[in-house]
């Protein structure tokens, strides 16, 4: 099982008493605002206790079509990276699950 937007809305309904529509909108808006912030030049999103989303510029590099073996360059692009914060890292580090 994975955490999804539906479960996040459910929690806002259960814990904060938002109605179903408000809860659904809230979850949508949360992720949409992060996406829009990252569309901006030099966009960075810092969520203390959780982590930071940063933008990185990638130069063009040689690539290969894995099926045909043909060489095709991977074009220069801007990508999003996530750096987990200290608090999240500490909480996750302790996890010793076996299903991974």
């Amino acid at each position: 099982m994975a955490l999804t937007k539906a479960e996040m809305a459910e929690r806002l309904f259960d814990e904060l008493g938002l109605n179903k529509r408000e809860a659904k909108e809230m979850v949508e808006m949360f992720f949409e605002k992060i996406r829009s912030a990252l569309e901006e030049e030099g966009g960075q999103v810092k969520l203390s206790g959780f982590g930071n989303f940063d933008l990185r510029e990638k130069k063009q590099r040689p690539g290969r079509n894995p099926k045909t073996g043909e060489e095709i360059p991977i074009t220069a692009r801007r990508v999003v990276t996530f750096r987990p914060g200290q608090k999240l890292k500490a909480r996750v580090e302790a996890y010793a699950g076996s299903e991974q």
Binding site: R35, F82, L88, E93, A94
Partner: protein, 101 residues
């Protein structure tokens, strides 16, 4: 953008919830996401991306001050893979700028 700026933006954009409720909602969502990862559960948000755990095997580390060798246990670290929409939107403005030069 920081967490409080994110809260401000959401509070401004809708008119049915008080600022305090938006603040609680954002904190609640981040706490739920952290809890999920801390219990080994993935997060899958369509159009945004997925968070999962990656395993780092045990290794020999070194105390940078003393140079002493220390055994470090294996551990899990959070990993984020951006989804298609996020990837495209972030890269689109990049491509757009280049074309507009």
């Amino acid at each position: 953008m920081t967490k409080s700026e994110l809260i401000d933006l959401i509070a401004k954009e809708q008119n049915h919830l008080a600022y305090r409720d938006v603040e609680l909602a954002v904190k609640c969502m981040l706490e739920q996401m952290s809890q999920s990862l801390a219990s080994g559960e993935r997060i899958e948000i369509r159009g945004f991306g997925s968070f999962s755990l990656h395993y780092r095997p045990p290794r020999q580390g070194r105390n940078p001050k003393t140079g002493e060798s220390v055994a470090l246990a294996g551990k899990y670290v959070p990993h984020f893979k951006p989804g298609k929409e996020l990837r495209e939107r972030v890269n689109r403005c990049h491509v757009g700028e280049k074309a507009g030069e």
